[in-house]
């Protein structure tokens, strides 16, 4: 019996190796670290450079400079881009001068405030990590979960409800309960397209998009109806959640750095462990890479798809729950600026690897947080950061551009973007 199972597992492995060309038994030729990060790194640099040109092109002082002479034009351009990016990075990582001064003064409050930009970037990264993991896990199962946004809304609504409706629980029960509610609701929402895919072959992309619409309208209904704040005048706004449901913040306001960031990291490790260290993860990846071969190997594809979607949805629900319990403390429309859709890009950027997703999420968090400071200092609209993000993603999705720009030799194994078998209609 036990032997039998091992055989099956081995068969799965053999097939996986056939498909991916990987042989886990033979020592893998390790790609150098630089080779691995080459494309993303260059994409970021190129995105920032083009973004700089855009900043210059939308700035009055640059045109005024060029009107005087070409040199003063370039001087103005340099100053604009310099100020913009300097504020972008001091706003997201902290100002080195302030940090050093604070460290020298030894005043704990000063140090915290000097480090706040960095901490705030981590706060902004947290929902990206959860949502990115959701998408990456689905990608690994060959599923395109474009419904992360809807699952996030439903997860947030469930966490909010548990957060305010249940009173008198101690924090160590209430907070995990609210988090769990968010994850469960997200999972339930994702199971619907999962079931439709597994049973009827209905394409999860279409069904996820539809589930998004239902989620938006449902939350609007809930927020203006059953979940509306008493005395809120019918505004789409929930009551404040109980203090006992808060995911604790480590420092006093205005520093928002909270436990959720570490929960997100823990989940990244968990997803990595499940995907790469368990049989079930292997099955999931096999189904994702080649469902026909997986079926031949005797894997239960239906179950894998449903459980894969559910786990992905649970992670998306966690993203929503995190925002409510750690940051907003009540739910309103305008909860998300599109984490669910950015998560697709994040998963791509991180090569659908949990740790890659964490790095990509940190990048997005840094850019998003720095944008605020950039806007305060140099009045550059926050949208420019969205454009920079988009450029970076385009360069990563189309590495040929980067190779052409930087004259890199192309190698076939580098085109390691996860295959989306679902696009081929492979069930």
């Amino acid at each position: 019996m036990k032997n039998n199972k091992n055989d099956k597992q081995d068969l799965g492995k053999v097939i996986l190796n056939e498909i991916t060309g990987e042989d886990p038994k033979s020592p893998k030729k390790k790609k150098s670290f630089w080779k691995k990060i080459e494309i993303p790194f260059l994409a970021i640099i190129t995105g920032l450079l083009i973004g700089g040109i855009l900043i210059g092109a939308t700035s009055q002082s640059v045109y005024a400079g060029f009107a005087v002479s070409i040199w003063s034009g370039f001087a103005a351009l340099g100053k604009e881009i310099g100020t913009a990016y300097f504020s972008l990075f001091t706003g997201s990582l902290g100002n080195p001068v302030t940090i050093i001064q604070a460290l020298q003064s030894g005043n704990a409050t000063d140090i915290r405030f000097a480090l706040n930009p960095l901490l705030e970037s981590l706060v902004k990264s947290t929902p990206y990590i959860f949502a990115g993991l959701a998408c990456a896990l689905a990608f690994r199962a060959g599923l395109f979960n474009i419904g992360v946004e809807g699952q996030l809304f439903i997860g947030a609504a469930a966490a909010t409800y548990v957060g305010y409706a249940i009173k008198g629980l101690p924090s160590y029960i209430h907070m995990p309960l609210a988090i769990l509610a968010g994850a469960a609701a997200g999972a339930l929402w994702a199971i619907v397209p999962g079931l439709l895919k597994a049973w009827t072959g209905g394409h999860e992309v279409i069904n996820c998009i539809m589930m998004n619409y239902i989620a938006y309208r449902l939350t609007t209904y809930l927020l203006t109806g059953p979940m509306t704040r008493p005395g809120g005048g019918g505004m789409p706004l929930s009551p404040m959640i109980e203090k006992s449901a808060y995911i604790p913040q480590f420092f006093q306001s205005p520093i928002r750095f909270h436990l959720g960031f570490f929960i997100a990291l823990a989940f990244a490790v968990l997803v990595w462990w499940i995907l790469f260290k368990t049989t079930w993860g292997l099955n999931l990846r096999t189904v994702g890479t080649n469902p026909r071969a997986a079926k031949y190997a005797g894997l239960n594809i239906t179950k894998t798809i449903i459980v894969g979607m559910a786990m992905s949805g649970a992670l998306a629900g966690l993203a929503g729950a995190n925002e409510i319990l750690a940051v907003n403390h009540s739910m309103a429309i305008g909860l998300s600026s599109g984490y669910g859709f950015d998560s697709i890009a994040l998963a791509l950027l991180g090569n659908s690897h949990p740790f890659g997703v964490v790095l990509a999420a940190l990048l997005f968090g840094v850019l998003k947080n720095g944008a605020t400071r950039m806007m305060v200092v140099s009045s550059i609209p926050i949208d420019i950061v969205t454009i920079i993000q988009a450029l970076i993603l385009i360069f990563i999705a189309a590495p040929a551009i980067i190779r052409a720009i930087f004259h890199l030799r192309s190698s076939k194994e580098d085109t390691a973007i996860v295959t989306l078998s679902s696009w081929g209609g492979g069930k």
């Binding site: 260059l42 640099i45 920032l48 450079l49 340099g78 100053k79 881009i81 310099g82 100020t83 990016y85 300097f86 990075f89 080195p96 001068v97 705030e120 902004k124 929902p127 309208r217 609007t220 203006t224 005048g233 019918g234 505004m235 789409p236 706004l237 404040m240 306001s253 205005p254 928002r256 925002e323 940051v327 907003n328 403390h329 009540s330 309103a332 429309i333 305008g334 909860l335 998300s336 600026s337 947080n369 605020t372 400071r373 806007m375 305060v376 009045s379 609209p381 926050i382 930087f406 004259h407 890199l408």
Partner: protein, 347 residues
């Protein structure tokens, strides 16, 4: 070869940061600090052609009239409110203007944490009063009442229409006033002008549930015109512009603008803009800034009414020939009646 290029680029970028850092490190001797008014938008963004934009106009008016500094920060989602407000607190803004009920909680928290900073919030009020927050609320139904009466008087089909962006009080107050204005016309004249798109009695009506997709405004206006409405008041921010486009394409119908005077703010549609129900958040914002400057600032709520000019009906501009002298006079009388209390809207 390629690595060299990369190294050069990296060095250039680092150099740019370091140089700009040095430039920053030696600031010129600070001039006397100017008064600073700073606006935090809600998720609509500063160019929403609706309340964020109108409040920002109040700030820019203050910049040109009073010579102050103005800044704004756009919020993309609820989680941005708190850090955006705090960024302005750290910038030592003299007054921070927050826009919309979504910012209600964040503004309250920031105001209580920073009692020395003055705040003013558009479309919101606090009970009990927070001493350093001035809420700006609007009796929009007073102006919309006039618009309803006007629409009923001008309509040839005997049907007028309205729709909203979302069923929330700041939107439905326009539609309520409009509806009541039409009913008032009917009782005064024994007419039977119908209102499509909003029934206050059971709270049902047309809503796009969207403040950004203009196509939805286009669809709403088209179906209202199909039903026979020839005057349409869209209460949906920029979505209303889609309705204006539909009306302009079809012809034989007119639009009543909201928030600002659309004749001026949406000049593409000035030939079909009968009037606008103006909610003058720019005026109340400017007043809040003035009060903060001259030291008369007090916490509480200002209520914009017809009486104090916080809400108003815009001029008829090019379409004044459509409004008969009698009708125009009646509207002036009703306006006076609302102001002196002889006509009551709340029933």
């Amino acid at each position: 070869m390629s690595k060299k290029l990369i190294v050069v680029l990296s060095v250039l970028m680092i150099a740019a940061f370091v140089l700009s850092a040095c430039a920053k490190a030696t600031p010129a001797a600070p001039a006397a600090p100017k008064f600073k008014a700073c606006e935090v938008t809600d998720t609509g963004g500063v160019d929403d052609k609706s309340f964020n934009a109108t409040a920002w106009k109040g700030v820019t008016d203050a910049m040109s009239q009073l010579g102050i500094d103005g800044k704004y920060l756009e919020s993309k989602e609820v989680a941005d409110f708190e850090p955006n407000i705090n960024a302005f607190v750290q910038e030592k803004c003299d007054i921070i203007i927050t826009v919309g009920f979504l910012l209600g909680d964040a503004t309250k928290a920031a105001a209580e944490a920073n009692p020395g900073v003055k705040f003013s919030i558009v479309d919101y009020g606090y009970d009990p009063v927070i001493p350093n927050v001035l809420g700006q609320a609007f009796q929009t139904d007073e102006a919309a009442f006039l618009a309803g009466y006007l629409a009923a008087g001008v309509s040839k089909t005997g049907k007028v229409g309205t729709f909203g962006g979302m069923q929330i009080p700041t939107v439905t107050i326009f539609m309520d006033g409009f509806y009541k204005g039409v009913q008032y016309y009917n009782t005064q004249k024994g007419a039977k002008v119908e209102v499509l798109g909003w029934t206050p009695a059971d709270g049902t009506g047309l809503f796009t549930n969207d403040f950004s997709d203009q196509q939805k405004g286009n669809d709403m206006a088209t179906s209202l015109m199909d039903e026979g409405a020839d005057i349409i008041m869209p209460v949906a921010g920029p979505v209303g512009l889609g309705a204006a486009a539909a009306v302009k394409a079809r012809g034989n119908a007119y639009i009543i603008g909201v928030d600002s005077d659309w004749y001026l703010t949406a000049p593409d549609y000035k030939d079909i803009t009968l009037t606008s129900v103006m909610k003058l958040m720019d005026v109340t914002t400017l007043n809040a800034i003035k009060a903060a400057m001259d030291g008369t600032f007090k916490g509480g709520t200002t209520m914009g009414t017809l009486a104090n000019g916080g809400v108003a009906l815009a001029p008829y501009h090019d379409l004044s020939s459509m409004v008969s002298a009698d009708l125009s006079k009646e509207i002036d009388t009703i306006k006076a009646g609302i102001i002196d209390g002889s006509i009551k809207l709340a029933q």
